[in-house]
């Protein structure tokens, strides 16, 4: 399956689309933190302790992330090789394609680094809480922990990462539709939706981060 360039790209597109759909879920939960502390805690607890989420969905998500990144690097390596030994002296200076589309590796790399930080902030914390320190179940701890995390540094780092994520999605979402062969009379509408999604979803994340930074727990 991985011997064909088209199928490798389909893997890239499908894993990307899967991660895109996960973002919507993630955003929904995060938004809850603005409206209701209680709802946020309930949802977070469900995500943290439900065995289906923990032992089925979470591994799938991790696999999706790994697949997407590994494939991304494999494709990039092949592409560099395909370009040949001698490069152009004069570049096209971005007149024929967008900067975003040509720098998916850069935006993706930043997002990858961010995921590392994000895992450190939340996942590692959870692991230590649950399995190292074997703390008792506390269904109300999530909100406070989240809000306290967003000091100035975190807020800036998270916001920058989300901008890069948005840029990644702006090309990536529409691109994955093209890769799986989507092209019909709804094509234009889907493209528009993909681009809107790439702006709105990361903006939502940034809004939440900034909101909590500006409204610390008194």
């Amino acid at each position: 399956m991985f011997s064909s360039s088209l199928l490798r790209k389909v893997v890239m597109a499908l894993s990307g689309l899967f991660l895109i759909s996960f973002l919507a879920l993630h955003l929904a939960i995060n938004l809850a933190s603005i409206f209701s502390e209680e709802l946020y805690n309930t949802w977070s607890h469900f995500m943290g302790y439900n065995p289906v989420v923990q032992f089925v969905l979470q591994p799938i998500l991790v696999a999706g992330v790994i697949l997407h990144f590994v494939m991304g690097f494999v494709l990039e390596a092949q592409n560099r090789k395909a370009r040949g030994p001698v490069g152009y002296k004069v570049g096209s200076k971005g007149t024929n394609s967008s900067w975003l589309s040509r720098n998916m590796l850069l935006s993706g790399g930043v997002v990858l680094a961010f995921i590392g930080l994000h895992m450190y902030d939340f996942w590692l914390h959870e692991m230590i809480y649950k399995y190292v320190e074997s703390n008792p179940i506390d269904t109300t701890r999530y909100y406070g922990f989240t809000v306290e995390l967003f000091d100035l540094t975190r807020t800036v780092i998270y916001s920058v990462a989300f901008v890069l994520l948005g840029m990644h999605l702006y090309h990536g979402f529409a691109s994955s539709m093209q890769t799986i062969g989507f092209d019909n009379k709804y094509g234009k509408a889907i493209q528009a939706f993909a681009k809107a999604y790439a702006v709105v979803v990361p903006a939502g994340f940034i809004f939440i981060a900034v909101y909590h930074f500006l409204n610390p727990i008194q």
Partner: protein, 248 residues
């Protein structure tokens, strides 16, 4: 008008090349770009030097032989125009023009600005045809009506001149636009549907074997294509390929 050229010179595939600069005077705006190079070469020959070798033949924008990257753009600055149809009126007096060969791992340089694009031929040999023999007694041409829209879309894909600008423009040196144009031409016609599955699988396989890169949908190929071949063809090929892979 006066122009300053910076031209890639390379003796053959085995040696390394380098840029040489040339200054030209008395260039007319009505000259085509290649006629300007003719003037350069005439001067070089009169000085006993080897002329700059470049691919060209029909000089009317249809054979797809001419190539070159001019100031960073395959076929130069004008949209929907091959190098041979580019005229000097697209440049200004005193301009510096850098001319490079099409660059891609799968298009090795033969000499100067001339590259080997036989990979394209091999992609087509892998399946870019409909298997009918010359018999003198096939079905009447009007036996199968074809929707005008489909016939026109097939024609539009078939107008690809196989010049390789898509590969030259692509940051990944991907040949998807070229391959998909050929796949699309046949996929859109009832005559081509019969072998659609094997065709797309074989052509993509050959495309990969030739060492072209992967499409990342930057769209540079469509912008630089002198014949305006559409990205829709790539989506169509992706679809054809997926369904062919599922069918097996």
């Amino acid at each position: 008008m006066k122009i300053h050229l910076n031209v890639w010179r390379q003796k053959n595939a085995q040696t390394n090349g380098k840029f040489e600069t040339y200054d030209l005077d008395n260039i007319s705006e009505d000259m085509s770009f290649l006629e300007m190079l003719d003037v350069l070469n005439e001067g070089l020959i009169n000085d006993g030097k080897e002329p700059v070798v470049f691919d060209h033949d029909c000089r009317e924008g249809i054979c797809g032989t001419c190539s070159m990257v001019i100031n960073g753009k395959p076929h130069g600055p004008q949209k929907l125009t091959t190098t041979c149809q580019l005229h000097m009126r697209s440049f200004k007096d005193g301009d510096h023009i850098t001319i490079e060969p099409f660059r891609a791992g799968a298009f090795p340089v033969i000499k100067d600005l001339m590259v080997d694009r036989s990979a394209f031929d091999r992609i087509q040999q892998a399946g870019g045809y409909i298997s009918v023999n010359t018999s003198g007694r096939p079905v009447d041409a009007n036996a199968i009506p074809i929707e005008k829209d489909k016939a026109d879309a097939s024609f539009n894909a078939a107008t690809c001149i196989g010049c390789g600008a898509c590969v030259a423009a692509c940051k990944n040196a991907s040949a998807m636009l070229f391959t998909s144009a050929k796949v699309s031409q046949y996929a859109l016609l009832p005559q081509g549907r019969v072998e659609a599955t094997t065709r797309v699988l074989n052509m993509v396989k050959q495309m990969d074997l030739e060492g072209f890169g992967n499409c990342t949908n930057t769209g540079a190929c469509e912008i630089e294509c002198p014949k305006g071949i559409s990205l829709e063809n790539i989506a169509r090929m992706n679809r054809e390929y997926l369904s062919a892979s599922i069918k097996g």
